[in-house]
Amino acid sequence: MEAFKFLRPGRVAPFTGVRWPAAGDWLEAEQPVELCRSGVHALLPEALPVWIAEELWRVELDGAEELVPGILVGSRGRLLARVEDWNDATAREFARACAAHVQVGTAGRAAEYAGDAATSAETATADASATTVAYMAAHAAEAASPGSFAEERSWQARWLAGRLALDAAI
């Protein structure tokens, strides 16, 4: 099954610190798969805005299960190809889009969150800074209209999938 994986520079997994092998070579899980503990984890496009890091890869997982919505865990996985369009420039573009999407008609706390997002977007890069802007923007949406957090996250995911042509990649 094909999916996506955000990695730190040098193909390093953000939480475990495991360095993925070069594209094409399998990374094997040492233990039975378990969410956030063991197994090879990857994402469907809808979960991408939450887990942004420097490198975005298209991956293939073997024996993958969707243990929680949007997050796949398999017994082994391999990198197929890097999504070259994901870089600091597109990350800033994404951050600005997230901020702009919540600017209209906001007041009070929503406006504060939206303002913070707009300011932070100007220095966002392809790392946690872009994740943070998206998070702020989702909170701005929630503050403006309770219950809108998830909807805003969906919009962000669609933006990424569209800009990076991810749906066409899998």
Partner: protein
């Protein structure tokens, strides 16, 4: 909804993360809680730094052996542990 993500009502705060960091590092946290923990780490660089500091502290202090302690430090530590267990 972006599926699989926590919502504002159940997302982890920095203070909560600090309280459960040992469980995270020892691998005793429930999978759903690990997910919330790592979602927080994905955007909070302060907590990433904090986690790195805790890991480094464990690495450094884990290399200490009883014979490395002065008698006074050893006695002080034992006193702390006794008082801690009696609470």
């Amino acid at each position: 909804m972006t599926r699989g993500e926590t919502t504002p009502s159940n997302e982890l705060t920095c203070r909560e993360l600090v309280e459960v960091v040992t469980e995270y590092l020892e691998g005793t946290m429930e999978p759903e809680d690990r997910l919330r923990f790592e979602e927080h780490l994905a955007f909070c660089t302060w907590c990433v730094d904090y986690l790195d500091q805790v890991r480094e502290t464990i690495r450094v202090t884990g290399a200490l052996k009883e014979e490395h302690l002065t008698p006074k430090t050893r006695d002080d530590l034992l006193k702390v542990f006794r008082n801690w267990k009696s609470v």
